[in-house]
Symmetry: D2
Subunit: 360 residues, 4 copies
Amino acid sequence: MFTLPDYIFPDFTAALFKNAPSVRTMPAPLDGVVPENFYATTIYPEYFKIHDTWQLMSESRMDCVVVITDDLPQAIEFRNVKKGDSVVVGRQESAENGVYVDHFAFAKKQNKGDNFSFRTSNSRETAYSRDYDRLYELLEFERENGYILWVLGPAVTFDQDSRNAMSHLVNSGYVDALFAGNALATHDLESHFFNTALGQDIYSKENISMGHYHHIETINRARNCGSFENLIEKYKIEDGIISACIKNKIPMVLAGSIRDDGPLPSVYANAYDAQDALRVHTKKATTVICLATQLHTIATGNMTPSYQVVDGVVRPVYFYSVDISEFVVNKLKDRGSLSSKAIITNVQDFMVNLQRNLPE
Amino acid sequence: MFTLPDYIFPDFTAALFKNAPSVRTMPAPLDGVVPENFYATTIYPEYFKIHDTWQLMSESRMDCVVVITDDLPQAIEFRNVKKGDSVVVGRQESAENGVYVDHFAFAKKQNKGDNFSFRTSNSRETAYSRDYDRLYELLEFERENGYILWVLGPAVTFDQDSRNAMSHLVNSGYVDALFAGNALATHDLESHFFNTALGQDIYSKENISMGHYHHIETINRARNCGSFENLIEKYKIEDGIISACIKNKIPMVLAGSIRDDGPLPSVYANAYDAQDALRVHTKKATTVICLATQLHTIATGNMTPSYQVVDGVVRPVYFYSVDISEFVVNKLKDRGSLSSKAIITNVQDFMVNLQRNLPE
Amino acid sequence: MFTLPDYIFPDFTAALFKNAPSVRTMPAPLDGVVPENFYATTIYPEYFKIHDTWQLMSESRMDCVVVITDDLPQAIEFRNVKKGDSVVVGRQESAENGVYVDHFAFAKKQNKGDNFSFRTSNSRETAYSRDYDRLYELLEFERENGYILWVLGPAVTFDQDSRNAMSHLVNSGYVDALFAGNALATHDLESHFFNTALGQDIYSKENISMGHYHHIETINRARNCGSFENLIEKYKIEDGIISACIKNKIPMVLAGSIRDDGPLPSVYANAYDAQDALRVHTKKATTVICLATQLHTIATGNMTPSYQVVDGVVRPVYFYSVDISEFVVNKLKDRGSLSSKAIITNVQDFMVNLQRNLPE
Amino acid sequence: MFTLPDYIFPDFTAALFKNAPSVRTMPAPLDGVVPENFYATTIYPEYFKIHDTWQLMSESRMDCVVVITDDLPQAIEFRNVKKGDSVVVGRQESAENGVYVDHFAFAKKQNKGDNFSFRTSNSRETAYSRDYDRLYELLEFERENGYILWVLGPAVTFDQDSRNAMSHLVNSGYVDALFAGNALATHDLESHFFNTALGQDIYSKENISMGHYHHIETINRARNCGSFENLIEKYKIEDGIISACIKNKIPMVLAGSIRDDGPLPSVYANAYDAQDALRVHTKKATTVICLATQLHTIATGNMTPSYQVVDGVVRPVYFYSVDISEFVVNKLKDRGSLSSKAIITNVQDFMVNLQRNLPE
């Protein structure tokens, strides 16, 4: 059975912390502009000494500034800062300045390798059996206790078994929120109408004649209905991911992008509105599973901290990146999202594995 | 020396065309919604018989509907259709219906291989010497006669030589418009201030201490200035791609995305506004060069036809996709952008090759 | 249930065939050297008119010459030709010359796509559900009726579940012959002794201290025993792929390579002896499954025809290439092995899928 | 100008070393079998205390045992050990045992990054400008002072400019030895006869009719001549890599493999004979450049130490791996060849860069 690791709070009675000054702030000079020497957030637990009390920031994310509101620290994106906000300044992070970053929260004993050893990186040749086993346990735990955010690339719905598996997980309670783009939703609905994705049959792989109409025909129907709810009702759609989310009232954030046709109803045209909508979920997410999408995976990685504070308890966020490309998962690491776990495989096999191994 | 291939117009005096009916239209039922049985565009030259005259559509793109305005056909995105617009309906494309698609415009003699042969696909092991030679000739020609649209991923500015090469091409007149995202601009400007990209030195590759501040510090300065023009003036920025574009008054379309920090001034927050802004250039582009960006390459591929009508002459559009991943360039082909040419290499080497081989 | 497609023999009563001359031969001038204008084999069924009778070549492979022995055609590698052998000459292959290649054996109706369509290539985003379903049926059929050759890269044994799955398939009768290199065998045996592959635990992925000794320690023990049989007996090895093959008397061809440590006993030092040993199996193979090895997959592809003659019946050979890299599977196609099927995924997931879905 | 880093010898007057026992050995029990508890080599400088003197091993390589002959340590492959050889035993490596491994030879100051930073791995998005600049300087230096071993995959000769560049480097003195397989030589010679590689024109990329004969026709001619020297003389071959090597008397090691056609004359059929032949060069190599070949790169990496002793001076070996696949270069690191430098690009661009930037 899965258990959460304990988090050990820093000992704030130590001299280091007691003698530290309170955090300094400066007012934001303009809307969306912050003071010189601003402090920027990381993915780790961060404490700010405010009126002599060390306050842990909850609902964090990296690359934000910290605004003090009602004596509490908040991670705010540059564009959301308002003129006059009290922005933390100074870049030291070991208490000297009233800021303390706990880089070693949940740190396991390092894999203390020898000076000469093989196989130190993560690749297609890495063993994933244990990762799967742990993930099954984790998802069971999180269904009861956590908040599971799924981030899907369109390939999840390009294959019949994979599309069915994802719908099944939604219906079984393993999905608390879904983040994707216009394409995932379009091809999922296209599959209902034509059994194809971009004109190719999702089981037989046959390219259907006039198949290049399928996705835009789908989009036109949806636009005509004005909402997913209307579309699903009118066409009695009972299969697929979008239908499962609507029926189970799972919130979806669909971010528009420069490559979209359509778009479908409810897709965010404005990228930063989409970020704000996604952040509602990354503030709550305790497990994030990203599948076959470089863009959305990195976006979510940017906005997800390595920990959450749930009922006063500090717990880790589990972040999985599942992709067939080592580049994608390594890129995530290169952006500071150090705590992510990678599984390098075809997303279809991954989805079917989850369906088979998770209890209803 | 480079010469354009001749385009041979269909013989509209032939019975096929003379006996064909005029095109049928239906009014759009709502803003952004089109009639049942709408006709959708491809990347090829398309003719529409209107009042007994076959009209070639200019400024085309795929996956749009055709609206007849002032007796001329126009490719309009679904979202830009207005209620009551006259939308072409019917899906035949061999004149039966008043629509004729010229699939074989500019078609070369097929590589008429044997029944048993090797090496039919495009990969890292393909020979690119001739592609380079042709591209040099093409760009010289287009500098005088065409409209060259560049589509850049951030990696173009992650290396010093590559960044310099791109700036040089802008200054030498080989760039008519630039399409990129917030990241390309951010890291290009970061390189001015810190000689880094995402905190890593673009020459020595050293990870600079506190380097994770560099890109957001850059963004904050730009937001404070309110525009690239002000930023460049205030900080006297004379190096890099953005500075070169501003000085040479090269139009830039910077599309915001869900993964952005900031964003910088002048970045489009709304994805569809960005599409509209980009379409201004894809309507004119005669050569498109896409470097190291899957998202923007596919976006541009979607919006670029295989031909343009320039001063009444029909000419091909040359579309290059340069990426280290076979997947990216093959994906472009899988989306119907069949006429693209791929060069599979590191974008740094590609850029330096262009700089070395193109005349000032 | 799986059924083999019918093969339709050419109509040799047609004038084309009746009027054709018998095949011409020339003697090989030297051992390992063939006459000018030699005819070279393909992967397709080939017929040779000998004494007025059209003889189908059985046990074919590509890139060989055809030696006529006892009035029957045989595909012989250049290096195996003997001085004076009667080698077929002339390069026409439509009967003009006494040679007829049946390029369209088993050809299905072409996927007769439109002039404008998406998704024509094979990638990580292709749907594989049906391929799996067909493969399960095929393997059940072949267990009773065919000859299944497995070609394994070392990654098959880098993960505990995958290693167990492969052993299980051997024990269940789904493996008729195994082709691999020194590394697969080494790391499979290393897993018995240390539960590691190249020093990394195949379940926990921990890098074990002094793990760089594990594979050479394993090799030394095997060399000391002198044979796999002795090693397995001495150390009572009951787990893993090599042990399963030895116990079930499944023939193994282990080809040595330039990157080997050791090698283990029974590994072929001579690459061409290994080819000859492998050809014994490719002459019989009706299904070939290649997993996660570019080198051995291409080697096997070179040596495997698209058909076999089994009890006088001509049937297709099913050739699967399973790899995480599109490049590897496309490369196979680029070498003329046109009939192969690709599944692009992590080999661990593939193996576990087979284990789960095949009857004991 | 390029200068070698100084190597600082351990201070053998220190107590640690003075008090250490001499190394222990055991006789090999059989040919090709070593004693229990054998010591295995790494890529680092290793010292063995023999008769109270610390002896540096020269001409090292990893994963070998150490045989003491004439009071000097030698790295010997398992298969080359003879019964009765004195093999070093014991696995400690910090002098306790008479063995000392200098893991930090030439170690530069670590890139002492922060606790939170981006871009720590090596990818297609890494900046390579400085690597190129250093490599140009290094090769100029090594032409005069070192021994440059090139390891080539066949793709080097698949493109006209790349093939010419490599020939040029041979003629200009930048190549001291060449290691490749049968395919590189075959397609280089095929290019002379047909201007193709595997039937595809190396400039125009046209697939030539009957092109699948080209490489085997080439092989047959070479086999008929009996040697490269005879072939080159008979056909007056003045272009290409093989011809350049023969004329400049550059030693070539061509290793046969399981996927070969032919093979050509002088190709090693026996993989371990090929290893022995290659080791002659890895014992001398001061710079190794591996291009577009996973198999041969790893083979060479296994056999190349991180240092050489040249005229009594200890100097580093520079090992470059140039490939379009991050996987290949990371795999090299995963095998303990930690000191290699990677350039991730198309090998054609790499070759042309060298040709342009190195003095004649």
